[in-house]
Every structure is written in structure tokens, then in C-alpha cells.
């Protein structure tokens, strides 16, 4: 689960970088960046943190 989260976080960065090569339009590059940042945030809070939340000490 944590490794999947890490891969999603990295994928977010890859999406942002992809905009550099796939288009010359600055607006589209900004959209790629925002999309990539959103994916990375999902990986951090939606996947990695969920793993730790499920095992949190206050739930025991």
C-alpha cells in the first residue's frame, strides 16, 4: 500500500514534467502541473496516510 502510494506520488511529478515535452502551450503546461500536483497530493494523503491512519494508536 505504501509503495503504491509512493508510485502515485512519483506519477504526479511525471505528469507535471510530461507537459514540458507534450506541448508548447503555457496554459496547457500549467494544467499538467496542477494535475500532477493533485495526483501527488492524492498519493500522500489518500494512499500513504490512509495506510498509517488505519493503524493509528488512537483507534486501538
Amino acid at each position: 500500500m505504501r509503495l503504491i502510494g509512493v508510485l502515485i506520488v512519483l506519477a504526479g511529478w511525471a505528469i507535471a514534467m510530461a507537459g514540458l515535452f507534450l506541448t508548447d502551450s503555457n496554459s496547457v503546461r500549467i494544467l499538467f502541473c496542477l494535475g500532477g500536483i493533485s495526483v501527488s497530493l492524492f498519493g500522500i494523503f489518500g494512499v500513504i496516510n490512509q495506510y498509517y491512519l488505519a493503524r493509528a494508536n488512537w483507534k486501538k
Binding site: A16, S40, I48, N57
Partner: protein
């Protein structure tokens, strides 16, 4: 009658003569003026002009002293290359050049010393915000980041970060740092890490390199100290040591290289036409966001303190033990920030370095407006002006203005600071409520969230008026953001944010996960409840005080970081 006519004629003649003379005089003086100006423009100074220049006699000064400072520092203090030849124009020019570099060395070093003095500021803020039973542990973590971080940075961190930074004119060249490892991908060069300056040995044994090392080292130190706050009251000291070494040796220097050491982020302007590439004047991203994201990774791995969350997931505010420490520490940090941001010009003479005045005022303004907006937010939302959040507000404003301080005007600084004050309050509530990540001092909100805000703010508010020697990151002209006509600068900044989240967080998480597996990050619950001073450090910080073994308070209004529990 005739006599009168003759007199009038002669008077007329004399008037004409006077007028002619005046005209000649006027013409002559104009010619003289022009010739003087022409001579001034083409002024040349020869050795013969300066060789006769003499200062006051040393005997005179020795007898009379120089209470009025009229004689101390004069032509006799200029170093002469050849005593037999006497003073030459080359000697004078060398002295002028050395003076410029000396001014920049002294400025950068003093600013570095001020940044180093931020360490007690961080230590006081963090220790004040945690419970007394963990005070020794928290102080020691803040103390040891200096030694551990410095060692790691000396061994390899500096070389990885600045080993290929190339010539820095303000510090006299730094020519030994010329080894950037570059790979060619998709037809573009990508600088990945530096290769010169390991152990400060070999050619990097250079006065300019030493100044650069000291200044960059204290910045790295700031990053490592951010993490200790979010992990306070439950972090095993041995795990902290290993984690800090990794951050100072590899993770921080890597992003530092990409942003400041001629790495690929800084070259986005040259290679892809994105504004001036990723711009981070003093480190909202490089220092604070890296620290804040590492703090986030560590806090997630560690889990919350016992008692922070109830069984239903509602958070409890755990107040700190000494607000005096917190407020005093904040002022020390605000003072140190005048070294952090203005010092990042790396000089006070040449290449636009006189912007130091503007940078200092921007820093001051953002801190003040952020403190005010955070105070106002808490007052309106919870009915009381919360001291700890006012402190975090000021720090958030200072963090947010760190990247834009060299590129924006004072009004933009005030706006950036104001927003930062609101963001830090919202972020503290967010981390408590949604992902339920425990951050005893609000480090993720102050440094992580507002570090990223500062990076984005450059892409919005940079006004193009800054001119550091005509270019920045190899792109001519001043840095302009979206509001000043260059949307591509915002793209470069957003790519920086994506890299911080995607790469820096990943590296920090993987490294600390490894530390967790090998060393174990979290201390035993028994030790945590008793307080870490005895179990981890072997000595109480306040041996004469009676401390409670466990204490967490849920009150309508508290001065602990974290939203008041009654609201949840």
C-alpha cells in the same frame, strides 16, 4: 547740438563693442565648458598621476592620534605590489576589486552568523510549544541538528548541492566549484548534482568557497530543525540522528542543487523558455518546503502522540508549557530572517546587491501582516487572540516571503504575508481534522504549506524590477510573474512545487521508512507517557519542578498549536 550727437554716437559704438566682447566671452566660456566635459568623459589615469599621492605622515598620526577619523584609511593603506615602483593604477584597481569582494564576504558571513542564531529561536519556539516533560529531548534535538547536519553537509552535502554552481561574481568567482553532473535527455542538458567540494578538500580549499559553505550550511541546518518540531514528544533520539544525517547529506542538497546549484530546475528558463527558470530567492522551497515535507513524511510514519486524538477521531489541543519561550524564540527567528533573506544576495556591492534594503523591508512587512491576519483569524473564529498562532502566523509570513523577497515590491509582500497568516491557520485545522496528522508545533503548516505558497507567489507577484547584474538563472532581464505579464514563470514555479511534492517527499518518505525499519522511529508508549527526558536523554530539563506524567487538555481556548477541541 553737434557735440551731443557725437557723444551719442560714441556711446552707441562703445555699447556695440561691449556687446561684442560679451558675446566673444560667452562663446569662449562655452567652448571651455565643452572641452572640460570632453576631457572628463575621456579621463585617463596614469601611474604618474598617482605615484605622488601621499597620506598623512605616520609620525603625525602617532603624535596627535586621529579622533576625528580624518587620516585613518588613506592612500598609504593601499597595498603596493612593488615598493620600488610605488603606487600604480593597477594597485588602485586591485584595491577597489578587493574592497568589493571584502564587503560581500563580510556581508554574507555576518548574515550567515545571523541565520545560525536562528537555531536558538527554533529551539525556544519548539520547546515552548511542547510539554515540560519533553523539554530536554526537544532542546537536544534542536542542538544536535547543528552538529549532525554540519558534518553530513561537510562530507558530501555541500558538494552535491553547490559543487557545480559555477562562477559567482559577488564572491570573487568560486571557480573551483565547476563540476556539475549533467545528463542529456530529450535533447536538453539536465544538471543533477555537483561533484566538486567533498570534504572541502582539493581545489575547493578556497576563501570564496568557504564563505559559500558557511552560508549554505546554516540554511541546510534550518531545514533539518523544522523536522524536529513535527516529530517532537515521540521521536527516538537515535532515529532522529540517522534521519537528520540523511536529510543533510542527500535529500536537501539534491533539491538545493536543482534550484541553486545550476541544476535542471534553475535551467528551465534557458532550456524550455519558462521565465527565468525556477526562482527561489532565499529558500521558501529549498529550505522550508523541503523541511516541511520531510516533517510531513516523518509525522505520518511516527503517528500521533498518545492522547492527541480521541477514539472517535476528534483532536485534542495539547498546550505547550511556556509561551514566554515561544514568543521570545519567534522574535529571535524574525531577527535571524534579516540574515536569511537579505543575505541571499551574497553581497552588498555589485550585481544589484543594493536590493538588500528592499529585501529586508519585504521580509519585515510579510512577517507583520501574516502575524496580524493569523491573530485576527483566530480572534474572529475562536473569540480570543491566540498567542501561539500569532507566532506561527509571523513565521508563516516570513517563510512565504523568503522566495519572493528579492523579486517583489512591498505591497505584494504585505499581500503575500497576509495570505500566509490565513493559510497557516487553515492548514493547522486541516492537518488536525482531515488526515489527522499530529504536528505539535505546526511545522508542516508553517514551513510546508507556506513554503509552497512562497514558491507560487514568485510566479504571481514578481514585478520585473529586480536586476541582479542583468540576468537571473542565465536569462536576461528581471523576473516577472503572472500579474506582471509572464505566465511562463508561474509554470516554472509550479514545476518546482510538483518536484517538491513528487520527488522530495518521496525521497524523505523512503529514507525515513528505512530508518523506521532498521532503527525504529517511535519510542515506547511507556516512555512517551512518562516524558522523554529521562528515558531518552537521562536527565530532566526542569529537575526542580514537579511534572505530570501525562497531560492533555481539551479546553475551549488553548495556547497550544492546534484548533481548540471544543470546535470539533
Amino acid at each position: 547740438m553737434r557735440e551731443n550727437q557725437q557723444r551719442r554716437m560714441s556711446f552707441m559704438r562703445s555699447r556695440k563693442l561691449t556687446a561684442s566682447l560679451l558675446l566673444v566671452l560667452l562663446g569662449f566660456s562655452t567652448l571651455m565648458c565643452f572641452s572640460t566635459l570632453a576631457n572628463a568623459e575621456g579621463l585617463t589615469l596614469n601611474d604618474s598621476d598617482v605615484i605622488s599621492a601621499t597620506g598623512p605622515s605616520k609620525e603625525d598620526i602617532a603624535l596627535k592620534g586621529d579622533a576625528g577619523a580624518e587620516f585613518t584609511g588613506n592612500v598609504s593603506d593601499v597595498t603596493v605590489a612593488d615598493a620600488n615602483k610605488g603606487l600604480t593604477v593597477t594597485d588602485l584597481a586591485n584595491q577597489v576589486g578587493q574592497n568589493k569582494i571584502a564587503i560581500n564576504f563580510v556581508w554574507t558571513l555576518i548574515c550567515g552568523f545571523m541565520v545560525m542564531f536562528m537555531q536558538p529561536g527554533f529551539a525556544l519556539v519548539e520547546t515552548g510549544l511542547i510539554r515540560a516533560k519533553n523539554a530536554n529531548h526537544t532542546m537536544m534535538m534542536n542542538f544536535m541538528v547543528y552538529g549532525l547536519g554540519l558534518f553530513a553537509y561537510y562530507v558530501c552535502g555541500f558538494a552535491i548541492q553547490m559543487g557545480g554552481c559555477g562562477p559567482v561574481a559577488n564572491l570573487g568567482g568560486l571557480y573551483p566549484l565547476n563540476g556539475e553532473h549533467v545528463v542529456n535527455l530529450f535533447g536538453k542538458p539536465w544538471g543533477l548534482f555537483g561533484t566538486k567540494g567533498f570534504f572541502l578538500a582539493g581545489s575547493s580549499y578556497d576563501v570564496g568557497v568557504m564563505v559559500m559553505f558557511l552560508f549554505q550550511m546554516v540554511f541546510m541546518d534550518t531545514t533539518t530543525t523544522i523536522v524536529t518540531g513535527s516529530c517532537a514528544e515521540r521521536w527516538k533520539f537515535s532515529a532522529f540522528c540517522v534521519s537528520t544525517i540523511g536529510l543533510g547529506a542527500i535529500i536537501y542538497p539534491l533539491f538545493g542543487n536543482w534550484a541553486w546549484g545550476c541544476g535542471w530546475l534553475s535551467q528551465l528558463g534557458v532550456n524550455f523558455g519558462l521565465g527565468h527558470g525556477y526562482c527561489d530567492f532565499a529558500g521558501s522551497g529549498v529550505v522550508h518546503a523541503v523541511g516541511g515535507l520531510t516533517a510531513l513524511a516523518c509525522a505520518m510514519i511516527l503517528g500521533p502522540r498518545i492522547g492527541k486524538f480521541n477514539r472517535d477521531g476528534t483532536p485534542n489541543a495539547i498546550p505547550g508549557h511556556d509561551l514566554v519561550l515561544v514568543l521570545a524564540g519567534c522574535f529571535i527567528l524574525a531577527f535571524g530572517w534579516f540574515g536569511f533573506n537579505p543575505g541571499s544576495t551574497l553581497g552588498a556591492s555589485g550585481n544589484g546587491a543594493l536590493r538588500i534594503g528592499s529585501v529586508a523591508v519585504n521580509t519585515m512587512l510579510a512577517g507583520c501582516t501574516a502575524s496580524f491576519s493569523a491573530l485576527l483569524y483566530m480572534w474572529m473564529r475562536y473569540g480570543k487572540p491566540d498567542a501561539s498562532m500569532a507566532v506561527n502566523g509571523m513565521l508563516a509570513g516570513l517563510v512565504a516571503i523568503t522566495a519572493p523577497s528579492g523579486f517583489v515590491n512591498p505591497f505584494a509582500s504585505a499581500v503575500i504575508g497576509w495570505m500566509a497568516g490565513i493559510f497557516v491557520c487553515l492548514a493547522v485545522e486541516f492537518f488536525d481534522r482531515v488526515p489527522k496528522i499530529d504536528d505539535p508545533v505546526g511545522a508542516m503548516s508553517v514551513h510546508g504549506v507556506n513554503g509552497i505558497w512562497g514558491v507560487i507567489a514568485v510566479g504571481l507577484f514578481a514585478d520585473g524590477r529586480s536586476n541582479y547584474g542583468g540576468s537571473w538563472n542565465g536569462v536576461a532581464g528581471g523576473v516577472r510573474g503572472l500579474f506582471y505579464g509572464d505566465a511562463s514563470q508561474l509554470t516554472a514555479q509550479l514545476l518546482g512545487v510538483a518536484t517538491l511534492l513528487g520527488v522530495v517527499f518521496t525521497l524523505s518518505f523512503l529514507w525515513n521508512w528505512l530508518v523506521d525499519v532498521v532503527v525504529g522511529q517511535r519510542c515506547q508508549p511507556k516512555a512517551e507517557l512518562a516524558g522523554l527526558d529521562i528515558p531518552e536523554m537521562g536527565a530532566l530539563c526542569y529537575p526542580d519542578f514537579q511534572l505530570k506524567a501525562q497531560e492533555y487538555v481539551a479546553t475551549p481556548h488553548t495556547s497550544g498549536v492546534g484548533a481548540p477541541a471544543s470546535k470539533f
